[in-house]
Symmetry: C2
Subunit: 404 residues, 2 copies
């Protein structure tokens, strides 16, 4: 409590808020990324081996070991390592969605790069609404959206829930549409006893320095390997469209040096999540999004704070005030991607659940640079905001008028 009082001493009046000229709560930034590093000793040992072998790329032994270990971890026959998940997803969609331009169904409540990936693969994004609880594609809305121009469904597992995997799988089979998953948030997670990474035609996921595609489909695995290596088949003949998507040995070393530590990282994430739940309990209108049991379904990569009345400040004002204090929080998936569409002739579709959720959440500061004490200080600051909401609102309104 002494510590808390000391911190509070820094924010005695509204003028002590950093956004209004006060000293920031944190001298250095508290980011939203994981920022966990590979195990240093293991990385340097692997790196020495790469120099000793003089083998730096082109499917070398470190890449092969990484692919073997990850395939085993995800209980899938094939894992193909790509240089990054953008390239991996472009290659995957180009292969499964085919050459004739059509639509790829995807959510709008996700990261902004995803519709670009659809466009690079030669198709048009078709945004579909999500389920309120899972934050992931609604099978009902997907069923309505499937039509003759549908080329693929690109589901995105969310940090708080996988997609409705069973329903989407049945739907994809029934309507004969390829189904793939962006499983970037699914590292270490489990669905009905089976690791995320083994569903649909393929799943693309991310492991810190590296991105990987899992698939159970031998022909698809073969196509993905060829596309990764310029489309080369045999000695040097080009068998189809390709690019350079190769992961090199030093990247694979970094990824391998992370693997053993994944459980510890997830453990620390869960602790931070618990610390946020405890510290912010009792603040009316703030709710840390819970991760339903069982615990092995989640990696606690993000902490999402839901903001609603009677919390006295808007979500965006709360974000701005926290950022001023060097807690680099963000509005979560906001604005939603369908409202950012580039074609002015085409009005955006109406996605009511997506639009509602995109106004609710703050992605809180997490990762290796955020301590339990930091979280407690953030909570004290939030209580300060709550108890000084009126004068804060007045200052914000005055500042807003000033910038116009």
């Amino acid at each position: 409590m002494t510590r808390t009082s000391q911190t509070l001493a820094g924010k005695e009046t509204v003028g002590d808020i950093a956004a209004f000229g006060g000293k920031p709560l944190f001298a250095t930034v508290r980011p939203i990324g994981q920022l966990s590093l590979p195990d240093e000793r293991q990385f340097f040992a692997l790196a020495r081996g790469i120099f000793d072998r003089r083998r730096i790329t082109n499917n070398g032994p470190v890449v092969q070991e990484l692919e073997r270990r990850l395939a085993a971890m995800h209980r899938v026959p094939y894992c193909i390592a790509y240089a990054n998940a953008t390239i991996a997803l472009i290659a995957l969609l180009k292969i499964v969605a085919g050459p004739v331009q059509g639509e790829v169904i995807l959510p709008a409540f996700t990261y902004p790069g995803l519709p670009h990936i659809v466009r690079w693969a030669g198709h048009v994004p078709r945004f579909c609404d999500i389920e309120r609880e899972s934050h992931a594609l609604s099978p009902i809305r997907v069923a309505e959206a499937i039509g003759p121009s549908t080329r693929a469904i690109l589901g995105v597992h969310q940090v708080n829930s996988p997609c409705a995997i069973d329903e989407l799988t049945a739907l994809a089979r029934e309507r004969a549409v390829p189904l793939v998953f962006d499983a970037v948030h699914g590292v270490g997670c489990v669905h009905r006893g089976q690791p995320i990474g083994g569903f649909g035609m393929a799943e693309v996921f991310s492991l810190h320095a590296t991105k990987l595609i899992n698939t159970s489909d031998e022909r698809l695995a073969d196509s993905l390997r060829k596309m990764r290596n310029f489309g080369i088949v045999g000695e040097s003949e080009i068998g189809g469209l390709g690019l350079n998507g190769k992961l090199n040995e030093i990247h694979a070393a970094a990824a391998l040096a992370c693997l053993n530590g994944v459980k510890d990282v997830i453990g620390r994430n869960a602790e931070r999540h618990q610390a946020y739940c405890a510290a912010l309990a009792g603040l009316d209108g703030l709710r840390v999004l819970p991760y339903p049991a069982p615990a092995e379904n989640w990696n606690y990569e993000f902490v999402l704070l839901e903001v609603s009345p009677p919390w006295p400040l808007s979500r965006d004002a709360t974000v701005a005030l926290l950022r001023g204090e060097n807690a680099l929080v963000r509005p979560y998936y906001s604005p939603p991607l369908h409202l950012e569409a580039t074609d002015p002739a085409q009005p955006p579709p109406s996605l009511p659940v997506t639009e509602d959720l995109s106004r609710r959440f703050i992605q809180m500061a997490v990762g290796e640079l955020v301590s339990t004490e930091d979280i407690q200080e953030i909570a004290v600051f939030m209580r300060f905001l709550q108890s000084h909401a009126r004068p804060i609102e007045a200052r914000l309104a005055a500042a807003e008028r000033g910038t116009r």
Copy 2:
């Protein structure tokens, strides 16, 4: 001479040729790649710094230093590091050639990935013939090919000559077509006193582990930086089409640790080139492609052997026999890319110079794994082929009949 006799002792009869069941000349392969490694001490020092700073990607200090040093080395204001040259060229073409599908003019006497890059950027490859001496795009043929659907010219500097830079630059300006260069072969080379890397709207080149785009155009540099980072402008807003083309810190460390050694690598390449010229002198019908003076125009990355009558064996038979001996030589840019085109409805254009040159050259074994002694052994083997051409041809013809 003793050494040569010992080697020759291994090839006393045609049956001693490895392709016919004999013991290979080389116990381990002699490849065509450079296979030079970054300076080990410098790489590990930089890698330690990355761990100490906990900064592994997103335009960190190592990437920034690499870009600064390369911009200075090439005397250009901007250098933008991408994860690989495929991604860099796709991004560059997407920006300069614009969104409306059209043609990109490029040579067919180059590496097979290049037309794929044009397709990923949303355009159609238009193959154009080359000059016999430079092996690079013929400005006359390019001028004929430019039409209303031309979106860009993609020149490729060759290992034995840069493009006709002045003529292409004048033509591009006159016809208002963006001109960019693939300068992957141009590392360390000079044109009229100016380093390759500063011509056209931008040049993409490769430095071992990393690929870079140079440009003098501030707006283009800005677009390239945004596209590399998912198209993000400002905090998180997406300002246009993007992807993940970021080079990370560990790659930049590898590249920086190569920079000081580039001159030494080129020096060793020149020695190997000289060794091939000396060792193969006097073999009728074989000519090592010369690199015209001044020496600083070339990096001697490849050694190209031109095969023509009265050499008694075909180019492809010579390649097969050398490969049997573990000298992993290759037909150079053969078949040319326009004859590999994927659209059966569209007959390939006639590119007589390209087609002729594609039948002539062998890309010889070079790089750090090939010693001067290796080159002398290859020359002795070539003399053996020359003096035993008749029975070799008979064996090859018999083998050919056997496989039918």
